[in-house]
């Protein structure tokens, strides 16, 4: 086995003193030699720079080799020496990746490991720096291998949080321990693991203590968010849609992830197939289509009734299931009391952004429509106290406003949808609007139509006047789109409109009040680009 010590050495040379260099050449001269002398040489080098991965690798090779030729006792002694050498390295740099990794390796190779010693080493290390994540990682490994009971580990985090609660590592570790300590019900229907109420309440109390003591500390707030909602992504088939044109028929399956992670719209739109021409040539009969989703073992039926050219099958989405994704605690009484505590904190700390944001989330989880006014007011305050993240809050607010509008729809099959004057800065939840034929996005602050916009497969009329739209990315392959109104937007170039060529039925386009209208010859250029348009307003 050859080692390319020289090459690596070049890179690290700058870090080394002359003595180290000469040592290094000695090591280099012994390429491929696996004896204790090289162990000693690499040891000298590593003690001055413990982050020299190649040398650690070399040592591992040597140790592995020695394992094959030595007795177990000798191996034990060898590895114990290695551990005490590593201890010295960690004293030099307690945050060295190389040393911790090597220690983990040695610990697992040790014929008779002493895990108690390793735990006490971690303890010491964490008492010096309770946020040393290398040590946390190593400790988790030791705990896993040596089988320390979970409740004991929970007490350990209790202790560390007690001494300094500004510690992501402790809180995070807690969040991994609690589900282990309270495994949820085995039914697959409820994948959420709810600890028993008493211990859950204890967690709320603990974390409240933290954010009341220091409301500007993020770690507690993040843990709190985790406590309030630990939803797992569930992929479900929400809607199946079939339509036919004269020549062919399509089946579109849309499936959404319920309980998607916070603020990420993980929605997929699958166009399953074009039915071969002639499959549904006979519109005078009823056709039953079944979509099987093998991966999830689910299926959906969809009937295409007599005389209809399209059909869909959609979940009767109740508002409870639609958006309550962030905070998934089932008991609203818990949410209610948490909202009270947070409101109490807000009275003391009216400027605290974490508190404001948490209140908004709690309100949404409890009653999104009922708290709409308060939510908007809190967003306003948030933007003022945390001006660095105004855009983030605008987007979040947009999301909530869209959700509220969807919730207000009387039934899921509404096909005309208006989001006028909602101060929207972004669009989301477009997956919910698959069946919409008319959408009105006028008078918002949109900068563009995102790719997900292409999900509105049934869209016929798009109105998006009085925004600041620059790009139309999402107006892509909308096969039914006939009319687009983009008055008073920010479309400047002809290339911005190129994407409209993918919409074959587009006939009416209103571009009044856009910079593009200033371009000479624009009318003829547009006519050339989009020949299908019959009515162009500039």
């Amino acid at each position: 086995m050859q080692f390319s010590i020289y090459i690596i050495a070049e890179c690290n040379m700058k870090l080394m003193t002359r003595d180290d260099k000469s040592l290094l050449y000695n090591v280099g001269g012994k390429e491929g030699v696996l004896d204790e002398e090289v162990l000693l040489l690499t040891q000298q080098l590593l003690s001055s720079n413990p982050d020299f991965a190649t040398l650690w690798n070399y040592r591992r090779e040597i140790l592995l080799h020695l394992e094959t030729v030595r007795s177990e006792d000798e191996i034990q002694r060898l590895y114990e020496e290695e551990l005490s050498f590593l201890e010295a390295c960690l004293k030099v740099n307690p945050k060295s990746y190389g040393s911790w990794h090597h220690r983990g390796w040695v610990s697992t190779r040790l014929p008779r490991p002493d895990w108690a010693r390793e735990l006490s080493l971690c303890e010491r290390c964490l008492s010096l720096d309770d946020r040393n994540f290398h040590c946390w990682d190593y400790r988790r490994m030791v705990v896993r291998v040596s089988g320390v009971p979970v409740d004991q580990e929970l007490q350990f985090t209790d202790r560390l949080i007690g001494s300094n609660f500004s510690n992501y590592s402790s809180w995070h570790y807690r969040s991994t321990l609690l589900p282990l300590l309270h495994p949820g019900s085995p039914e697959a229907a409820s994948p959420q693991r709810e600890p028993p109420t008493s211990s859950l309440l204890k967690e709320y109390e603990l974390v409240q203590n933290a954010f009341f003591t220091d409301p500007n500390d993020q770690s507690a707030w993040f843990y709190y968010r985790w406590l309030l909602g630990r939803g797992v992504c569930v992929c479900v088939c929400v809607c199946v849609c079939v339509w036919g044109f004269s020549t062919n028929s399509e089946v579109i399956l849309r499936c959404g992830y319920r309980n998607a992670l916070y603020y990420k719209s993980l929605t997929h739109l699958h166009k399953i197939c074009d039915l071969p021409p002639g499959t549904i040539s006979d519109t005078s009969n009823e056709h039953n289509l079944t979509v099987h989703w093998t991966e999830r073992h689910t299926h959906r039926d969809c009937a295409l009734y007599t005389g209809r050219s399209e059909s869909w099958c959609r979940d009767s989405a109740t508002d409870l299931e639609l958006f309550r994704s962030e905070l998934s605690v089932e008991k609203s009484s818990v949410l209610q009391s948490e909202l009270q505590s947070c409101t109490q904190l807000l009275e003391l700390e009216p400027q605290n952004k974490w508190c404001l944001l948490t209140i908004i989330l709690l309100m949404r989880a409890l009653d999104p429509l009922g708290y709409e006014k308060e939510t908007l007011a809190y967003f306003q305050t948030l933007k003022e106290v945390d001006s660095m993240r105004t855009s983030y809050y605008s987007d979040l607010c947009s999301k909530f406003m869209i959700e509220n509008t969807i919730l207000k729809m009387e039934y899921a099959e509404v096909r005309v949808f208006s989001l006028c004057e909602k101060n929207l800065s972004t669009l989301c939840h477009l997956d919910q609007l698959l069946l919409v034929t008319h959408i009105n996005l006028s008078s918002n602050q949109l900068l563009g139509l995102p790719p997900q916009f292409a999900m509105l497969q049934c869209l016929e009329v798009l109105q998006a006047d009085d925004n600041a739209i620059e790009n139309l990315e999402g107006v892509y392959h909308l096969s039914k789109l006939e009319e687009v109104s983009l008055r008073n937007n920010n479309i400047t170039q002809l290339s911005d409109l190129k994407i409209l060529t993918t919409c074959p039925r587009l006939a009416r386009l209103d571009l009044r009040g856009n910079p593009i209208t200033q371009i000479a010859n624009i009318q003829s250029q547009l006519a050339e680009l989009l020949p299908s348009i019959t009515e162009l307003l500039l």
Partner: protein
């Protein structure tokens, strides 16, 4: 004794080894001045000293007998040339008064004597605690050698001259009458002894007086009780000067207070507030908010400007703090009386808070082996840099130049004339005639040896600061420092409790009400098994008043300009006053020199280098020094964690300092 062989010329002669004097001595020697440092006492640190139990008993003896010899007026005319005057100094120490000793545990004097006679066959029927024979042997062979092993300086000798038995008998007299005062049940002493011998399986092993005397060397009882603010002047000076290497420290582990008849923990750090079970979340927020404001209150004058003329108490009430939070802030964090002005209260709070977190969750450090270590550390530093030390040696009078009115020389105990350009003296050596314009206050002190913690906790090793607000209007607020055996100031199984307050009457009048509320007497047979009283019992107590001359203005003394007076300890918790004083005096002595620059490492010092020692040799940067101190604190914390109770060597001692006058 080589004291009659002193050099006759020094730059500075310093009389008294208290904190200020020792710091001045170290600072002067450090910048190359020739320093003679003497003290008429047989021990270092004057009223800052720490004693073993037996050492304290002989100190008590000395101070009870004090004042019987009138000031002698000797004729020094033979030593004086024409144009010179004599200014005699006081020969007795009157700084301690109202000394009273109480013993509440069984004394068993007979048993003690029997044990002495029949070492190998202890009659253990009366002995409640098993005693190892090895210890006894040790005690028998060297009963008077109560010096600590690590003391390098041979001059440090605080041993008692009289054997322990004798002291016991002496202490019997006050005890008898005091028990009548203190024990309401008025049980005769004999019964108490019986109860001590009763073979009841008491939870706590009873500790007899004999045991305390026997284990007396394990005590290091401070005369003055202070803690070190982690960001106070003293800690800064220790770090800056590298003197910190001579001592080890422990973090005070908790701050307690007495409220509504109970001792409870004061949440003062972020972790305390977070962990407190007593506070509601809203209170936590209010407290944190207030403390955060105090940390940089100067930045927000609008918050308190309406209160500049009003009291801190009113300010607190106006700040939406609940009653218990007001108590915590006023009494335990700011530690000021109610009527203190708002800004002063804020300043005290800030001082407390700024010291938090440097070494731990409380703002205070305590030196292992007692506060008396600190002046000694500075003396050691002075000795390392050539200062000459002489205990049991004093200055009898000053020689003044008539024309300039300055002090030219001093005449020492041996009648030798020693010339000096500056003379630094502890307040206690100044005669009444020279201090007519000086007004003194007094500190009331009590030292208790108790058998348990004031507030139980998981660990028995706790160092607590307990603040007791005035029990009735007009009474002083009392400060308790409860030390555990891991501080090396008391024997295992006991706690040393120091009480301090500014005097309004005698120490016992001032402090007894607090003692009787917080502590109980050792249970006698009839009370045993009741268990309702969780208060710790006082085994032994001493009360005394100490003079506090810190308020004295220099102009109040009728002394030459080059005679500098250092006041003794004050009643405050920190030592800032003494350090500031030392700094001022040093500035007058050596206006252009740096005050205590970092000392080089001991191994870098060349003793016979003939002045060839490079100034920069071994100097470490301030940052490193700070790291060093932090490490030390870290180490001490580790020790605390492991509850190691074996004595710890204090620092590393440099090679023997050139102290030619060390006694043999």
């Amino acid at each position: 004794m080589a004291a009659d062989n002193l050099p006759t010329e020094f730059d500075v002669v310093i009389l008294g080894t208290g904190l200020s004097e020792s710091v001045i001595a170290a600072a002067c020697a450090r910048v190359g001045q020739r320093v003679l440092h003497v003290d008429r006492r047989s021990y270092y640190a004057a009223n800052w000293a720490s004693f073993t139990f037996n050492g304290l008993l002989s100190w008590i003896d000395d101070n009870k007998q004090g004042g019987q010899s009138p000031e002698e007026v000797l004729d020094w005319s033979g030593k004086v040339e024409s144009g010179e005057d004599i200014l005699p100094l006081s020969t007795m120490d009157t700084s301690i008064s109202n000394l009273e000793v109480f013993c509440y545990t069984s004394e068993e004097p007979e048993e003690d004597e029997e044990e002495k006679k029949e070492d190998a066959t202890p009659i253990s029927t009366l002995s409640p605690a098993p005693q190892s024979e090895g210890e006894e042997g040790n005690q028998a062979t060297s009963p008077t050698d109560n010096r600590r092993n690590h003391e390098g300086e041979t001059t440090l000798d605080i041993l008692s001259e009289s054997p322990p038995e004798q002291q016991d008998q002496e202490e019997c007299a006050p005890l008898a009458e005091d028990q009548q005062i203190l024990s309401s049940d008025g049980e005769p002493q004999g019964e108490e002894q019986l109860s001590g011998s009763a073979p009841t399986q008491a939870k706590k092993k009873k500790i007899s007086y004999t045991k305390i005397v026997k284990e007396g060397r394990r005590f290091n009882i401070d005369l003055v009780s202070k803690l070190m603010y982690s960001r106070g002047l003293l800690v800064d000076l220790l770090i800056k000067s590298n003197v910190s290497r001579y001592a080890e420290f422990k973090n005070v582990s908790r701050i307690l207070t007495y409220r509504q008849g109970k001792v409870e923990q004061v949440p003062c750090s972020r972790a305390d507030v977070f962990g407190s079970k007593e506070l509601t979340v809203v209170e936590k927020r209010m407290l944190m908010k207030f403390l955060t404001f105090c940390l940089d209150y100067e930045q927000h004058p609008e918050e308190y400007q309406d209160f500049t003329e009003r009291s801190f108490w009113e300010f607190l009430q106006n700040n939406m703090l609940t009653e218990n939070l007001q108590h915590f802030v006023l009494h335990s964090i700011a530690m000021v009386p109610r009527e203190t002005h708002t800004e002063e209260g804020l300043r005290s709070t800030q001082h407390f808070l700024r010291s938090l977190g440097r070494y731990g969750n409380t703002p205070f450090l305590f030196p292992i082996y007692g506060l008396g270590e600190i002046p000694q550390c500075f003396c050691r530093m002075c000795a390392v840099f050539g200062g000459i030390y002489c205990l049991r040696h004093s200055v009898q009078c000053l020689v003044l130049d008539k024309e300039s009115g300055r002090c030219k020389a001093v005449i020492d105990t041996c009648g030798q004339r020693i010339s000096c350009s500056h003379f630094v003296v502890e307040d206690g050596y100044i005669r009444e005639e020279q201090r007519k314009g000086v007004e003194h206050k007094h500190i009331s002190r009590a030292v208790l040896i108790t058998d348990g913690l004031l507030l139980q906790s998981e660990s028995e090793q706790q160092i607590s600061l307990v603040t007791v607000p005035p029990l009735e209007p007009g009474a002083p607020a009392v400060r308790l420092v409860e030390l555990c055996s891991s501080t090396m100031t008391c024997m295992p199984g006991t706690y040393l409790v120091h009480l301090t307050c500014p005097s309004s009457g005698s120490a016992r009048e001032d402090l007894q009400p607090v003692v009787s509320r917080l502590f109980t007497k050792p249970a006698s047979a009839g009370e045993e098994g009741d268990g309702s009283d969780e208060r710790p019992a006082v085994l032994w107590a001493v009360y005394f008043n100490m003079r506090d001359s810190t308020a004295a203005d220099r102009s109040g003394y009728d002394l030459p300009g080059n005679v500098h007076v250092c006041s003794g300890p004050d009643a405050a918790l920190g030592s800032d006053h003494s350090i500031r004083l030392a700094q001022e005096v040093f500035r007058q002595l050596a206006p252009h020199e740096e005050f205590c620059p970092p000392a080089p490492n001991p191994e870098d010092i060349v003793y016979d280098g003939d002045g060839g020692q490079g100034e920069g040799a071994g100097f470490s940067e301030a940052a490193q020094a700070e790291e060093g101190a932090a490490e030390e604190a870290e180490e001490s914390k580790e020790k605390e964690a492991s509850q190691e109770s074996s004595p710890v060597e204090v620092g590393e001692m440099p090679d023997p300092p050139p102290a030619p006058l060390a006694e043999e």
